[in-house]
Symmetry: C2
Subunit: 333 residues, 2 copies
């Protein structure tokens, strides 16, 4: 493999980037791109690395992978209430595969263009398949949806449905019979795994409403704990209120709970907001065209020294003791 | 490998980051970091991915690798005339190795702290060893040292010496007998390969002086061409004027030329400036404590449609026809 073949890949992405939105002072082709936030705002910055075998299967459709590589990063912007602006892409692959790269770029730029997000730089090199995106968005400092803002009596909300991506993985792994689902359901589960939709519009609509927010990548149980730890709060969650698709409802109740509470790869938003904002939150969901569901409440720590925790209960208010396994992506070991 | 072990790595880097400079509105621990350029300036952004076997040998000292991972990114800021500000780190490794990570972090943060550069976020995951840094610096838009600003009659300058890193690689590969060099020379060549010094102070001193600049990562011949292509200019270079260390001077003349013109991994700056700025450039080099050497001149394309090219000559002004092999990093294939 010669360096020049990798230069060709860079030029390929650069050409595609030139056809997209131009939102940087200086884009691809210099030592650095030059970027400034919108006047009066700051840049929200996030990095995610996707590795074959861990975040996606070798058999993944490259178009979907292009979509997902950017989507998981945009989801971090959504969780911050930031408006997408630009991104960099570093890509390692063993050998340039033209058709694969073409399809990957199609998926990547289709999503980038939808959110007016410009590729401003990157790097390509030979190595085991690895995709690293750093994404930039605009947000007014005071409006940023942080993890440390949850307050006592806040409602806990979640967008969309949880557990679909994990259910799709279970089908691929043969954890449950695929004939449990009809074709439409199988397709919708697979779609959730392959093409998660970053909740950008909802994140923007929650500015000034939500006290805290994050996106669900490792599963509700683990991710909600990040809000609780940074906000020094407890939460009480109704596991039966956690929204799930009709397909996920076909699973045994135990599996439903595993998928919705500890499934991961959901890229929905969890957020907290005061009860006085319920109507406004419902409106925000409607404007963003995504369901928003109340699943619990935030409460104070009993003692300041206590570790924040989640108390789970079911629809009958019976307390549950759950043993949840964190999302292990595609890890077979 | 459980997720929690990788969370531990993240916490390890986050703890280190907290002890360093705090230059972001919001750092590690949320969905995004929040960052704004200094008032009146823009952010310079660059991404580099380092892969085992390609950019470093598996046997590399992890302290040096930590240094180099950040250094090659800071070098891009230097080439832009930007002041380091912050960086993100995404890291894939097959299994967390505590002593290795400790040493890697030591090297990384030692350099970061020297340049007041804050780790503001990142990602850790299991996978073949891969290090991806995105770096941020401040620069006034008009002062940025771009690649497209070279003008007719500009001098071509280079900082430091070229070829040392490539000479060190030649020793490791047995391309030339290591007893050609004394111990001090071997150490200094290895140092050039392992611990390149980003020319930040020089980049800052060249604001308002240099018309164009970039850093040498793939070799003078290939990298200078990037300036020429973007500036639509030719260059005439005296290959005997290209600065080289006493150690490199011990190689046969052909090997000296390969190392200095097409060696790569140098991370010195190439820049162009008008002859009227010669004294000021010498001053800038002195203030930045690095040698700066004139190696040639920029000339206009004969016809606007021509491809930019470099004309090589030696000290006697005899024209040379060089066959240069681009830097192939550690690629054994």
């Amino acid at each position: 493999m010669s360096l020049s073949e990798f230069s060709l890949i860079e030029r390929f992405f650069a050409r595609r980037a030139e056809r997209g939105p131009q939102r940087a002072v200086l884009g691809i082709g210099d030592d650095c791109a030059l970027l400034a936030p919108a006047p009066g705002q700051v840049l929200a910055v996030s990095t995610d690395m996707l590795v074959e075998g861990r975040h996606f299967l070798p058999s993944v459709d490259p178009y979907c992978l292009g979509h997902k590589t950017l989507a998981v990063n945009l989801s971090d912007l959504a969780a911050m209430g930031a408006k997408p602006r630009a991104f960099t892409l570093a890509l390692a692959m063993e050998a340039p595969r033209e058709a694969w790269l073409e399809a990957f770029a199609e998926g990547l730029f289709a999503l980038a263009d939808r959110f007016d997000c410009q590729l401003i730089g990157g790097d390509t090199t030979r190595g085991p398949l690895n995709l690293c995106v750093t994404v930039f968005g605009d947000v007014p400092t005071q409006a940023a949806l942080r993890r440390d803002g949850a307050r006592e009596h806040d409602d806990v909300w979640v967008s969309g449905t949880l557990g679909d991506a994990r259910a799709a993985l279970g089908v691929l792994r043969g954890e449950w019979p695929s004939n449990l689902f009809d074709e439409r359901e199988l397709a919708s589960l697979q779609h959730a795994l392959d093409k998660p939709e970053p909740r950008i519009a909802l994140g923007l609509a929650l500015r000034g409403l939500a006290h805290s927010a994050l996106d669900v990548s490792d599963g509700l149980a683990g991710d909600l704990l990040h809000i609780l730890e940074r906000s020094r709060m407890n939460a009480r969650i109704d596991v039966d209120a956690v929204p799930r698709s009709d397909a996920v409802r076909k699973l045994p109740l135990d599996a439903q709970r595993q998928c919705t509470l500890a499934g991961g790869d959901d890229y929905e938003l969890i957020f907290t907001a005061p009860p006085s904002a319920r109507e406004a939150i419902a409106d925000a969901g409607a404007r963003a065209d995504v369901a928003v569901t109340r699943i619990g409440t935030i409460s104070a720590l009993r003692h300041a020294a206590n570790e924040p925790a989640i108390a789970w209960h079911d629809a009958s208010h019976a307390q549950l003791s759950l043993t949840l396994q964190g999302f292990d992506h595609f890890d077979a070991n």
